[in-house]
Every structure is written in structure tokens, then in C-alpha cells.
Symmetry: C5
Subunit: 355 residues, 5 copies
């Protein structure tokens, strides 16, 4: 969550277009992987500098370059120079406080997305900014940290007959976006389990810990919710707009499919919000109910014994002339009074349904 709040005032005062990494710095090793493929051919390797991939520009194969880690600004700079990318785009890649967005340029599309993970132990959602550059036969992917997110895509690239191997770079882009969006479903399933656990807790034995968890989830949803509208917009734009020559008509229907997924996720985030709000109402009601229970116990105890104590007090007085004290059956009679007073009060409270 720290990601969502600590906004970038870090660059205040710098000229626009300055290539400085803004955002949380991760200490992962920096690496560049390259995959070059077409229907018949597949080459995977790790490269040291961007210059190594320049010669693929003139082939008809598709080249996918994954940059893991944003610490080495020179790599971004080199891509900017060799592939003629706008300075503001390079700046946005390095500033990991971007909203998901699509920017269309003549020669390339720039896409910013957020990958999400729900940490089970702390109930906090962590975000990773993933930027994509789609050129006519090149795809650059910029990641904050290396993990297995794109492994299924790589696995599918290994199969020569897969659709992925036989169509263009726009389809690769779709497959990558689909992989990122699938992570939202995983997060949602985890969230779902969590909400169910909390709900059960709420009905069985609500405690301040339950409240803290509800508040925690609510907080995460406030920030998660913020990423949904730009994500919807982004996929709507990819699905609807037919201007860019980089996106083929047939790929566009696939983006429509991811758009549907995003709408479903976004709707369920809204539902969770409503659920959480209703859970808070239940929590408040249950506190009030408990307080009422406490009050009733006190009232029953006090109301029964206070009159009895008074009566006992009366016959503890030291007046010289108190005829009852001399009566042979005074004491047992008083016990009868005690019993009948308490029984009638108990009946009274029973009728009020307090017992």
C-alpha cells in the first residue's frame, strides 16, 4: 500500500524528461532477456546491452525484450535513442507511480499496467508497474522485479504450433496483458477467502482484531479501486479504437475478451466495498447488542439485590422500639419476603425477555 500513497514529489523541480528512477527501489539483479521467434524459429538469450538486439529490426521475426529492474537508466536511454521513443515515455517507464494508460504514437504504442499480488500474511496488496512498448515487430517489457509472471507465456512460445508463434507482435502484447490481468483473478480468489474468513469470525466471535482486519481490507480496496477505471479505459481503447495500424482487427476481439475480464474484476471490487461496508454495520450492531447484554446482567443483579439489601438494612437498625425484632417468626418471615421479592422480580425480567 505504501506504493499507492507515497506519491512522487521526488522529482519536483527537475526538468521534464529527466531520466531518473522515481518510486520504491528494488534490489533485484538487473537483467535483459531476449526472445526472437517466428513460426519456425525460436531463440532465447540474455543480453548485456540493447545494441545486441538492433539487428533484429530488419528481420521479419518478432522480438520480445524483457527488461527486469529499472535501476540501469542507460538501458532505457539506449532504447529511446535506437527506437526513437519520446522522452516523456522513457520518463514514464522509470516513474513507477503511473496510472495504467495507453499512449498511441505513430510508430509504437506505449502501455502501462499494474500487476497485483495479495500478500496472505499481511492482507496487503503489492503493485508492480509493468510497461510495454509495442513496435511493428518488437515488444519491450519493463518490469520492476523478476518473477514467474510471464513463465506461462514463455512456455507457450516453446510450442511451434501455438497460435502465439504464428501471428504478430500485437498478439504477443495481448497474451502478456492477459497474463497480467489473470493475476487480478488470483488476487480476487485470495481476497474472497479472506473476506469469507472475516465474515465467519464476525458472526461467531467479533473482536477488535476483526475490526482491524476489516479496516485493513477496506484500505486496500480504496487503493485497488483507484487502479480499476484507468485499466478499464486502457482495455476499452485497445478493444475499440481502430486507428493504430499496429493492432490487427482480429487481435482486437481478443482485447475485448480481456476487457470483459477487467469489467468483471472491477465490478467485484465494487461488490467487496459494499460487503465490507455491510460488515462494518454488522460489527457496530453486534457491539451495541453486546453492550445491551452487559447492561441487562447488571440491571438484573442490581435490581434484585438492592431492595433486599435495603430490607436487611432496616432490620439491622438499632432502634429501641422495633417490635418486629422481638417476634418469634420475624426472621423466617423476612426470608419469605426476600424470596418472594426476588421471585417476582425474576418473573418481571423474564417477561421483558431479559433472561
Amino acid at each position: 500500500m505504501s506504493e499507492s500513497l507515497s506519491f512522487a514529489s521526488e522529482k519536483s523541480g527537475l526538468p521534464p524528461g529527466s531520466l531518473v528512477h522515481v518510486g520504491e527501489v528494488h534490489d533485484y539483479p538487473h537483467s535483459i532477456s531476449l526472445i526472437n521467434y517466428n513460426g519456425t524459429h525460436l531463440e532465447k538469450r540474455t543480453i548485456q546491452s540493447i545494441e545486441e538486439c538492433l539487428h533484429y529490426q530488419n528481420t521479419d521475426t518478432i522480438t520480445w525484450v524483457v527488461i527486469n529492474g529499472l535501476k540501469d537508466v542507460s538501458v532505457i536511454d539506449a532504447i529511446g535513442k535506437h527506437f526513437n521513443i519520446h522522452a516523456l515515455v522513457l520518463e514514464d517507464i522509470l516513474n513507477t507511480h503511473q496510472r495504467p494508460k495507453l499512449e498511441e504514437f505513430n510508430d509504437y504504442l506505449f502501455i502501462v499496467m499494474k500487476a497485483v499480488t495479495l500478500e496472505d500474511s499481511t492482507y496487503s496488496i503489492s503493485y508492480e508497474q509493468i510497461s510495454l512498448l509495442l513496435l511493428s515487430n518488437f515488444v519491450f517489457t519493463f518490469r520492476e522485479k523478476p518473477d514467474a509472471l510471464f513463465q506461462p507465456v514463455i512456455d507457450r512460445l516453446n510450442i511451434p504450433t501455438s497460435q502465439l508463434r504464428n501471428v504478430g507482435a500485437d498478439y504477443l502484447t495481448y497474451v502478456l496483458i492477459d497474463a497480467i490481468v489473470d493475476e487480478y483473478f488470483t488476487m480476487q480468489d485470495n481476497l474472497d477467502e479472506l473476506v469469507e474468513t472475516v465474515e465467519d469470525e464476525l458472526l461467531v466471535n467479533p473482536s477488535t482484531k476483526t475490526l482491524a482486519t476489516i479496516q485493513k481490507i477496506r484500505r486496500e480496496l480504496i487503493f485497488l479501486r483507484r487502479t480499476m477505471p484507468p485499466l478499464r479505459e486502457l482495455l476499452k481503447a485497445l478493444h475499440r479504437s481502430s486507428e493504430s495500424p499496429l493492432l490487427e482487427e482480429r487481435t482486437r476481439r481478443y482485447f475485448g475478451d480481456v476487457y470483459d475480464h477487467v469489467i468483471r474484476i472491477s465490478e467485484s471490487v465494487e461488490s467487496y466495498r459494499d460487503l465490507i461496508a455491510s460488515m462494518l454495520d454488522i460489527y457496530l450492531s453486534s457491539i451495541s447488542n453486546k453492550m445491551n447484554e452487559t447492561m441487562k446482567v447488571l440491571t438484573v443483579f442490581a435490581s434484585i439485590f438492592i431492595p433486599l439489601t435495603f430490607i436487611a438494612g432496616v432490620y439491622g437498625m438499632n432502634f429501641e422500639y422495633m417490635p418486629e425484632l422481638k417476634w418469634r417468626w420475624g426472621y423466617p418471615a423476612l426470608w419469605c419476603v426476600f424470596v418472594s421479592v426476588s421471585v417476582s422480580l425474576l418473573i418481571y425480567f423474564k417477561r421483558k425477555k431479559w433472561l
Copy 2:
């Protein structure tokens, strides 16, 4: 409700277009029914494979194929192949986590809907995804489980003079959608009764069970509400769009009628939400009121007897020089004090309207 929350992360990592059944698996027997009809002719039978219906493609009769159960993926696959259906559509048929939607293709329309049932005993709404494929003279219906939902439609097909027998496949589609939407009215009537019961309970004797029921209904409404906007959109599209040659002008007015129904349902879902919210307010007020009642009982008891007990305590003291103790009428006089103190306090509380 589990349906609405357990979103499909199951397919994460699979290539798009993979035909895998995603969603709750129902253990109903799988079956395919076929009805072929025109104004003069009606044939009903159960078929084993899709191939059995292919020869109807070249007739001018209308063929309605109902696939009950989605376990047998090969059937869906066969339909895709023989009727040239897009891979994503086949995928959507098998993934029962879809939102209601309409997708227009050149040769066919693809419609996804949700049928609802309110289980009386658990107050939970169960959803069934029903997909429809409308081709020029074919209608495919894909259902999760077999039940009597479409029985009235079949009954009407038995009547040779019915309008249904004498017009096109688009009218059959309308009749099926109308039958699904009618289920919402049934659910609404049940919900209505339930809400009324809860409301009466709330006024007569609210308990934590009432609160739990309110919360249950609220929860169901949160999820039900989510299905309304796409349903409205779907029927608006069927009613308004005049692009598809598969929908005749005259059928469109009938869709307008169903659209009206959906708007009415959607509006009453909103009203229920408001009602439920107001019921929660009443519940909270009634708890506060009850607590106040409890407090008053305690206060009246304590405030009357505490001063009396003090006075009794005073004359229980063992001082050697306490002149009152020797007085002949001390004890009766004190009883007068007791009575007058309690009477004045009772009057005081009466005036405060606590009694």
C-alpha cells in the same frame, strides 16, 4: 452466491481459446435435445452427437438444440467446427463466470444470460448461466443443469397455431429470453415476501437472527445488483440495434417489452437496497431504544433504594449517643421517611416519563 465470488482464476496461464469448463461443476446427466419445427411440422428427439442435426441446416425449418450440462467439451467443440463459431465464443460458453452480454458476428449472435432462483430456506440466490447462439434458422441453448425452465416454451411449440410456430428463429430467441427474465419476477415475488416477513419481525421483536437475515438479503442483493446493468445493456442492444440481419424489425418491439421488464426488475432491486438500508437503521435505533429501557429500569431501582439503604445504614450505626434510637416513635417515623422518599422519587421519574 459462491458462484458470484469464486471468480475464475482456474484458467490462469492457459492459452486463450482453450476449451476447458470453468466454474462450478454440476453432476447432472449430460444430454442434447433437438426440436425441429415450422408451421406445419414438429419433431422432438434426443440426440447423441451434434452431427445428427447437421442436415437441418439446409431445410427452411427452425431447429432448436438444447445442450444440458457443459461437462462434455467435445459437443461444444463440434458445434464450433460445424457452425464456424469463434474460439472465444466457445470458451465463453464453457466459462460460467460470464456477465450477461451480446456479441454480434456476421453469421450469428451470441447471447449470455443468467437465470436466477431464490432458495427459500437459505435465502440465497442461485445463478445458472444460459448461453444462446442464434443462427439464421438454428438456435443453440447451453445450460448448466436440466430443469423445467423452458417447459412452457416447449408446450407452446406443441400448438401449431401459436405465433411461435409461424415466425423465425429470432422470435424463438425472444421467447427463451422472456422465459429467463420471467424467473426474475418469480424471484422478486419471493424476495418480496421475505422482506415483508423480516420487516414485521423487526417491528414486533427484532433479534440478532433478524439482523443475520437482513445481512443475508443485503449480501444477495449486492451480487444480484451486479447482474442488472449488463442485462439491461444486453436487452437495450437487442431492442435498439438494427444492424444485425438476424433480428427482424417486428421481433425488436418484443425485445423492447422484455427490456421494460428488465428495467422494472432492476429498479426494484435498487428499491430493495434502499429498503434494506432503512431496515438496518431501524434495527440500530431499536437496539438503542432497548438499551435506554434497560438503563431506565436500573436507574429507577437504584435511585430509589440507594438513599433508603443509606438511611437504614445510619440507624444501624453503633454510636453510644444517638438520641433518635431512644425515641419511642423513631422507627415508625423512619418508615414515613422511607415511604415519602420513594414516593417523591417515583413522582420525579413519572414526570420524566420513565415509568
Copy 3:
């Protein structure tokens, strides 16, 4: 209110276009009135069957037919046949669960409205569906029950010089709609009085009865509110659309006037909602305040007498060696202690503003 909730699942399974009366059945006598007029001529009579009015079709007078009661389906059927009305329109006339709406056909306009009445005693709003068919020189009005709603219109028709007598059927339609909308103003005035009464009650002496009334009004507003947007839409359409040849340009400005009325009503329904919400806040605050008052009374009583009782208890102990008990002025001195303890506590509570 029952009207608003008990939605029509009654027709589920029937073929569309079946003429069945759906909704609450009223036991009013069924009747058909006919008024035929132009600037110089006016004829009023009760007819038995629709066939009696057919010959007016070819005159240049205006004919207004009022059908009171929807039990006799054959009348609706006859109108459909003779005036060539769409089956779905006839169905809508008979189904009194419609939303207000306007449907434009080539030869006629179909208008559905809701007339409202606030029952003073039960604070409930009752709705009556009134359907209008506007043909070139015919107006049909379908009512659920006969009452004096249209009496002022009939009175004005009696005046030969009135504008109503000298212009077309569209102006009659306007006058009828205006009469129905005027009922909303009457209802609003009643509601206004009611709200003011409740508000005064709330400030002077709120009780659970007040809460019940607030909840009752709120409930009615939830349902009333639902009818406002379609009513606005309906009048906007009548005011703006210039397609239908049945509505003259000059009449349209009058519809604009009714549209203004509907907006004012709809805005004040919103204001009432806000008012009711704020009343509930006041109610909850006043309960909390009262509880606090109760608590203070208890605390003041208990806190003053509990220490005194303890002191009295101490000198009620039977220790052999308690020097104070032998003191000549012990008892009076203790009374001084009693008085000073209570006075200082009273001052303390005075300072806390509890007294």
C-alpha cells in the same frame, strides 16, 4: 404500496400478447363513457360496447372514451381490433405494473401514467395506472377505478368557448396529463403537512411511534421516487420530440409546462428523502442524548449515596475497640461528614454540568 412490490410473476409462462388482467383486481363496476365534441357541439353518454363509438371515426369531431375498470378484457380486445392497436399495447393496458412510458406508433401514441393519492390515515401512497391512447381524433383513457379525477376536465368541456373545445385531441391529452400531474402536487402538499407534523413531534417528544412514521414515509418515498424518472422521460419526450404528426407544435409548449411541474415534483421528492434522512439522524442523536441523561441521573444518585452508605456501614461494625463510637459528638460529627461529602460531590457534578 402493495402495488409497487407485488410484481407480476402472475403471467410467467403465458405467451406474450395474451390479454389477461395482471395486477390487483378492483371490484368497481365496469363502465364506458363517451364524450364527443367540437367547438359547437358536445355529446356525453355511457355506452355498452366499443362498437357504438366506431361511427365517430369518420367525423371531424373529437371523441374521448373513458374505460373505467379493466375487468372486461373483451372491451380492450375490441378496441385493439377496430382501431388496429398492437397486441403488446393491449397487454400493457391490462397489466397495471407498468412504468410510465410513451410509445409512438404510426397511427397512435400510447401513454402510461400513474395517478397517486396519499391516504392520510395510513400515510400510504396508492397508485392507479391510467393508460391513454391518442389517435388522430380519438382519445381512449383506461382507468383502474372510477373517481372524480377527470371531473374538472369534463367541467371545462361544458364551456363552449374554452380553448379545450376548439383545438385538437392532442390538447385534450395534455389536459388529462396535466390533471394527473396536479394530483402529485396535492399529494405533495399532504406529504408536506405530514413531514412538518413529524418534525415537530421529533423535537418535542420523539417516540418509537415517530420512528415508525418516519420509516413509513421513507418507504413510500423509495417507491414514489421510482416512478419519477420514467415520468420525467415521458414528458420530456412529449415536449421535445417533433416526429409524431399527432402532436402539434403549439401543444408541445404546454407539455413543456407539465414537464416543468414534473421536474419540480421530482426534485421535491429528492428533498424529502434528504429531509427524512436528516430526521433519522436527529432521532438517533436524541436517543443517545436521552440515554446520557438517564446515565447521569443514575451516576449522581449512586455516586453520592454509595460513599455515605459505606461510612454508615463502618460505624455499624461491631468491633469491641472502636473509639469513635464512645465519643460524645461522634454521631453529630458524622452527619457533618455526610453533608460535606454530598455537598462536595454535588458541586463536582454541578461543575461537570450534569445538574
Copy 4:
């Protein structure tokens, strides 16, 4: 506020266009003032009948007629006849329950506005409906009551070099609307002061009177808020629409300026609403806090003295064999017990931060 709620059911049943004054009747003397001016000439006088101003129609001077009081319907009627004003417009002038609106006719514009005043003593906002008719060189202003609202405009008309004297009737309209909108700023400043006073009260010493004031302001804002959207719409229309030949291009920019003012007022009404809502939360929190304080006092007193009283009670018992009673140091030892019990409880409560 009575204005805002008591909606006009008064005219129900009358034919549209009937000239009847609807709304609160003010008992101010009725008067008509006329100002005729151009750059070189200025004439001010009171006239008795509208006929006196007819001859200005053919001059190239600008004539501003102010009608104070709406009781004399014949004046409105005369204006309608001589200047050819639509019957519905005349009706709207007389019905002071209008929403702010602009109606464009071929020869004139009809503008309805609401002037506001905040009565300091009762915190209630009073509304006055001011209607304007803008003809090519005539401006009619219809007011409910005479006051100094337009005095600054008259003062500026006295200066021959003022812009007002040298441009058209549309500029006079702008100046009048600007004067009315300026009243909203004055009201806002008063409201501002009031809110600040209440807020201070809330933090220092909230009472039920504070709550009543908050509710009062809230109520006024509910109704004030209702007038804002039509006012915005009205000025947007004056600013944007370029259809009417009565409004010159250069005047339109001035209307844009007033439009800005109205947006600012409307936004601050929204802010007040939010502020009031937050004040209510604070009020509720402070009641709860106070109740907690009360509870703590009670609990501390009761919890300390109840155990002590019990111990004292024990040694007040009359058992024959109670060895402690014979002990020489029994009584002083018990005092030690009393002190140590109370001290430990005090420490306990101190730790709980209750003291």
C-alpha cells in the same frame, strides 16, 4: 423555507394559462416604476398603467419597467396583450413556485430567477422570485416585494458615462442578473459566519441547541441546493447559446462571468453540505464520548465503594463467634484494608486511563 415546500396545488383544476397569483401573497403596496434611458438621456418615473409606456416602443432608447408586487393581475395581462407575450409566460410570472429558467421566444427572452436572503435571527433563507422579460429595447422586471436590491443598478444608470448607459438592453439584463447573484455571495458570507459559530460551539460545548441549529442549516441547504442546478443551467444557456438575436456576442462573455460566480456558489453549497454532515458525525462522537465519561465516573465510584461496603457489612454481622471483633487492633487493621483496597483500585483505574 415555507416557500420551498408549499407547492402549488392551489391551481389544480384550473385551465392552463389562467392568470391567478399562485404562492405566498405579500401585502406590499403595488407599484410600477419606469426608467427610460440612452447615453444622453435619463427619465425616471412611476406609472399607473402599462399603457403609459407603450409609446417608448418606437424610440431607440432603452426602457426598464419594474413591477413591484404581483397582486394586480391586470398589469400582467396588459403587458401580455401589448407586447404579445405567451399566456404560459404570464402564468409563470404570477406563479412564484417556478424553478429558475430561461425560455427563448422569437421576440423576447423570459428569465425566472430566485433572489435569496438569509434571515440572521432564524437562520432561514427566504426566496423571492424575480422574473425578467427581455425585448429588443425593453426590459420588464417582476418582483414579489419592493426593496433596495436594484438600487446599485439605478445608481449606475445615473452616471451618463457608465458602460450601462451606452449599450443595449441585454447588458441591463446582465447587470440585473449579476445583482441578484451577488445576493447569493452575501448570503454565503452570512452562512459562513453562522457555520463557524456553530463549529466553535460544537468543539467547546455541544448542546441539543447546537444540534437543532445544525439541523436547521441542513434543512435550508437541502432547499438551497435545489435551486442551484437550474440556475447553473440558466446562466450556461445565456453564456453559450448564440441563437437569440437579443443577446450580443460581447454581452455573452459577461454572462460567462456570472456563470463562474454561480458555479462557485453552487460548489460552496456542496461544501457546506459536506461540512454539516461532518459536524453531525462530530456531534454523535461527542455524545458517545460524554456518555463514556459518565460511565467511567459511575464505575470508579461504584467499584471502589462497593467492595468496601461489603467488608464493613461483614463486620456489622452479629455472629456470636467472630474472633476478629475482639482483636485489639481489628478496627485500625480494617482501615488499612479499606485504604489499600481503594488505593489499588485507583491505581488500576489510573492505568486504564480512566482518571
Copy 5:
């Protein structure tokens, strides 16, 4: 905040276009700075009157004039005369209650913005209105007070190779707007820290001071939120509109970048609102929880000792015939009763989880 509420009724009654400074008057020294530059040349100096900069109008260098302080109305007047600025624009510069806005004229653009600062000590946001006039090679900046806000811009102007030195006046405008928007990020970071501190306080030890701080932040957010939509609109207009010849195509993409920043700020203001609302819920829950704790302590104490005190009271009675009093083991037996009663009550409360 005073800025946001004290709206300008100060000018009520003045003719529009009167040059009067409306708003809080700051006592800063008034000064005019001038920077004239192009790629090769840079001149900075302080000027006394606007006339000193007139000769730059005919050069091809860019001139940036900063007017610090709005007290000297004659300067604004002179700019209006020499550069032909509309009277309403001059008025808006002097009235510091403007909303952020863009006004396009033929020869110049007029931009109003609000710079913000969060005062750490009082948690209040202070606003400064900054107006910009963009002419073809002139930029005027009007500020309320002199501070270092634009220092980074001046620093960058000192570098001859900076982009800023080599492009047009529109780019300077962008850089200035970017500098103002960057201040929002700084404010946001401060707000972020503040919210985190309050949140921690809330969980550890909520007090009425915490509530006051929450209310303070909420209040500031209400007013901050009001400035966001016009700011978004302003930058959207600068980014999208392609009408003005004063803005070059390439600069527009830079404005798009600032637009993104403003959207991010505006979204996080919304998130803060949600956070604050959720904090208030937590606060209320925690008060209720605390009250319940208090109640439990009281109930446990009272319920245990009240029965015991009664029993002790019984054996303090002075009846002559009370056999128990003579028993040898009566007193120790009673102690056993005392202990067993309290132990069973303690177990009872333990089971209820009150201990």
C-alpha cells in the same frame, strides 16, 4: 481555509470590470521581475513600471514578467492597456477567489491556478492564486506573495542548452504550470505522513484530539477537493484543444503529462476522503468498544459484591431469634458462602469472556 470560505461579497454592487483587489490582502512588498531570453541571450532585472518591458514586444526573444503582489492595481491596469487585455480578465487577476480556469482569446490565453501548501503545525492548506497570461512571446505571471516556487524554473533558464531556453513561450507556460502542480505532490506527501500518524494514534490510543485532527483533515479535504475538477478541466483543455495558435502541437503532449499528474492527485484526494471516512468509523467503533469495557468492569464489580453485601446485611440484622448467629461455625461457614458465590460468578463472567 479562510480563503475557501470567505467568498467575495466585497464587490457586490460595483460595476463589472472595476479593478479592485478582492480577497485577503497580503503585506508583502510589491515587485516586478522581468526575464528576457532566447537560446543565446538571458537578461534578468527588476523593473518599476510595465512601460519598461514594452520594447520587447517587437523582438523575437521571450519575455517573462512576474508581478509579485496584487496591491498595485495600476500595474494590472497598464498591462491591460498596453497588451489589450479584456477588462474581465484584469478583474479576475485581482479577485483571488477564482476557480482554476482557462480562457481563450484571440491574442492571448488566460490561465488561473491555485498553488497549495500544507502548514505542518496547523494541518491547514493555504492557497495562493497564480494567474498566467500567455501572449505570443510574452508570459505574465501574477502572484499573491513572493516565494521560491519558481526558483527551479529560473535555475533552468540559466542553462543555455536547456530545452526551455530554445523553445517558445508556451513551453515556459508548461514549465510554470508543472512547477505549481508539483507543489500538490509535496502537499500530498505531507498529508500522507499526517494521515499515517493519525491512523497509528487511532489504533494505539484514540482521544478527542485524534477526532479533532481527523475533522481538521476532513475539512481541508472538502475544500481541496473543490479545486480539483476545474484543475483537471483546465489541463484537459490545454492538452486536447488544438484551436489556439499559441500552443504548439509538441507542447501539448507535455501538458498531457501534467494532466496525468493532476488526475493522480485528484484520485488520491478521493482516496484520502474514503480513508478519513473509514477512520471515523473506526473511531466510533472504538468509543463503543471502550464504553462496553467500562460497562463490563462495573457489571463484574457490582454483580459480585451486591449479593455478598446483601448476605452480610442479613446477618447484621438484630432479630432476637436468628439461630445461625449462635452457631459455632456460622461465621466461617458464611465466608465459605462468600467465596463460593464470588467464584461461581467469576466463572460465569469468564465464560461470557468478560474477564
